[in-house]
Amino acid sequence: MTAEIRNSELPSEPGADRKRKILIVEDEFVNREILSAMLASEYEVIPVGSGADAEEALRRQFGEISLVLLDLNLPDRHGLDILRELKDDPRTSKIPVIVLTSDKEAEVECLNVGAIDFIPKPYPIPKVVQARVRRTIELSEDRDLIRYTERDHLTGLYTREYFYRYAAQYDVYNRDVQTDALVLDVNHFQMINERFGKQYADGVLVRIARAIVSAVGASGGIACRRSADMFLVYCPHLLDYQAFLDGIVTAACGEDKGRIRIRLGVCAGADKSVEMQTRFDRAKIAADTVRGSFTDCVAFYDNAMHEKEIYAERLLDEFQAAIDGKQFSVYFQPKFDVRPEKPILSGAEALVRWIHPELGVISPGVFIPLFENNGLIRMLDHYVWQETVERIGEWKRKFGCTVPVSVNVSRVDMLDPDLVETLVDLIRGGGLEFSDLHLEITETAYTEDARQIISTVNRLRETGFVIEMDDFGSGYSSLNMIATLPIDVLKLDMAFIRNVFRENGNLRMLKVIVEIAETLSVPMIAEGVEKEEQLNALREMGCAMVQGYYFSPPLPPGEFEKHIREWLPQGREKE
């Protein structure tokens, strides 16, 4: 399981002008000549008469020899010893060996040591010998090809496709054994790669693979490298998974204890009627629940996760019907300019709610991540944009003024080459100005696909859209980003605001950000403001705009209109 596979181990396919090579080790000249005569038309024959000559030929050409025909009684050595050495050496262990013998007693021992077949003496007719040789080479090459494709080249573990097949095969022969599906995921592997280099990172993966094999191999467990830094293990139930993981982490770290953290998800003893892949999906779900934790690194798939999974599947299944049946409602959370004594309504953020006929109101925190994972988010975003444009147009007509509304633009939308055109069509179709619709792009999008995102953002800004950077402070924010990225408005992350006020001391950090935004003339909106003291502190620092439950939760369009009437100075209904 641990043997590393190198390209050189795959026999090169002989071209039209190249024959496969067969080494004939037989001390009797006559016998050697007869075999050579039988095989010479199809193969390049290398006849040798002693063990020493055989070793020399193998040493020189081990990568090229397709088959060894081995006599047992050689003048200098016994054929069995040569066979043993061939099979013990990783360079030659894959070369098939046919033993030339009529000694029945030797046959069993030869098979045990690794011979693949026998040719008796006197030799059978040439056709029989040729057929055996041909078949042996074919089988061996097929096996090499399988081995080459079934193993991950770096770690020697199974590749995913073969792993699932072998796992299913394991079940066939071990129906009554409680078998667990495990997922091991290295936390922040990309960082290890970047900080310590690919060679070091590869070494970590190889050490993890070896540690897994040594932990579960003896009990019949099998393992695969699922992706760059994720391993799957299918093994008989272990009693102490924390100890198992500790062993793997210690082996993976080598000298650098503490540098590598691995999370382990276990789907323990699942009903064998559950599809193999599903069991590993569940182990992965469990593993991801401890993604950020420093203390708990092992998680078991349990009933609560199962319920959540079923719920998620239901939401995904019903997505299209919900779009068609207009179950998604767009709510509007007002944004206020808090610089004047009496805050002024300055805009809103469009937020989607799923009003499910049976499940009631479903929070976007539940369904947005689901849709983000499979691309449905694009369809939902388009739906929200369309609804929002219609609302803005309606209010424009009704109140004779504009309330700019920001909508979320997901990362996948940003990768859509037609995004700008789509938005332009939408604005034109609704009879709006580009500045009426603000676009919120999450901060992490800027860090992930920076170049493409920035170029798309530039095109959107040139068209006239206002770009708000969403969730600032939630990811890898740097102040440098504010200065270099093309943005019009900075939205401070809700959780960031909460943390700042919870920890009291960090108000200075917030102050610095507000000041820098001011220096760069980038207006800032603070999200998630819930309390008066938060509002006062933000105001004092010079934060211009505020959004949050302190003023209003997200409201259905009808409710939001009340705010327009109340706060907008010119908000008078047209006749």
């Binding site: 001390d27 000249f29 016998n31 005569a37 006197p122």
Partner: protein
Amino acid sequence: MLTVEKLRAFGANVEEGLQRCVGNETLYLALVKKAIRDPAYDQLREAAEKKDLDRGFEIAHALKGVTANLSLTPLCDLISGITELFRHKTDADYVPIAAAIIAKRDELTALDN
């Protein structure tokens, strides 16, 4: 000169031997000539004289393989007999048996003259 006809008359299964040599008569006859000049026959006699059963088995076993592959049946049958005696370390007088083998081999050698 050795011919397949002479070999057939000697009792060799020429068709079978030739077939193993992929029908190549020249090769077959050359290999027979090589086989009957094998110094192992003298070594077999020495082993018989010394009653060195292990060495005798080794030599006889090898000769049996060669003569069987060439289908030199009358010679091969004699060699098979002594091989089994050596294998089972039978307490026998090996000298006349080895002599009979060498005489049979000499018959073949005579065919080449």
